[in-house]
Symmetry: C2
Subunit: 141 residues, 2 copies
DNA sequence: TATGATAATAGTAATTATTACTAATAATGG
DNA sequence: CCATTATTAGTAATAATTACTATTATCATA
């Protein structure tokens, strides 16, 4: 609606998000930006993350549990969340994923504008740790 | 972990969720159950919805905005959320959706336990209303 | 059918995540 | 430089959810 004026804070937030690939929460971005702008307000971070997401410059990701996360990569891709450590990883778009929306829409009287695909399980690190602990358990009994 | 003992409240919550198909929030379930159990606590509703979801008897659905929603149907299916009115609808599993997980997992060193596919757009009702308002606009200019 | 162990509850308080409000500041076009 | 308007910091408020605790309900066993 209203004109969007430049602000250093927003620019710092945008760059921070593009730089990192850990899909941070609003608070994580806040903690990081504070190093450069000690007086920045958490509200400012929230407001700009929302605005940037609306403008399509970043992506907002809602999770099954815990706060929303944000992603500086706007190219279509999926996300994987580790049930153990909670980390979030990028996944390339699966084959045939784009057709899902079109296919499902055929028998639907409404309009489909988009889709979200999320995976969950154990990340490589947590899987390794778990396998390790199993082995040592067998040895220790 | 601990033994799960029967409780009327939990049973009422479970039945309430199976009966309805509007994917209610915890508070919606609470308001409904209160008619039968006027003293039930919102905390009890939250606790039991979480427990039932852990037990696999219901499904917890996180949304891009707004509170979590719950679904009494446990058979695999997807969800559609209307960006206009916020209603949530069930979608049958799309063809080839089951393979997504397997396919994506091939190039992944971790373990994939599950996936969630969500669609969004305009529900049939809201689409109809919008189309209607466009037409009347053209006539009224 | 009593009893004892323990899970579940109601009621309330606390926490977490997010949004709203406001006076002061910064950006931008003329 | 000035006027207009968006943005900010700081703070308060709200919404969603979880934690705590004394009391009550469930249930296996005597």
């Amino acid at each position: 609606m209203a004109v969007v004026k430049f602000s250093r804070q927003r620019e710092a937030i945008r760059k921070n998000l593009i730089r990192r690939c850990d899909h941070p929460t609003a608070d994580m971005v806040y903690q990081d930006i504070r190093k450069e702008y000690p007086n920045i307000s958490l509200g400012t971070v929230y407001r700009n993350l929302s605005l940037l997401a609306e403008l399509g410059e970043i992506q907002k990701i809602s999770t099954v549990s815990g706060p929303d996360r944000f992603d500086g990569m706007t190219a279509p891709h999926d996300h994987f969340t580790c049930s153990q450590c909670g980390c979030m990883l990028d996944f390339p778009l699966a084959d045939g994923e784009k057709q899902l929306q079109k296919q499902v829409g055929k028998a639907f009287a409404g309009r489909i504008d988009g889709q979200v695909v999320q995976f969950f399980g154990l990340c490589p690190d947590c899987l390794k740790k778990q396998e390790g602990s199993h082995i040592s358990n067998e040895n220790n009994i």
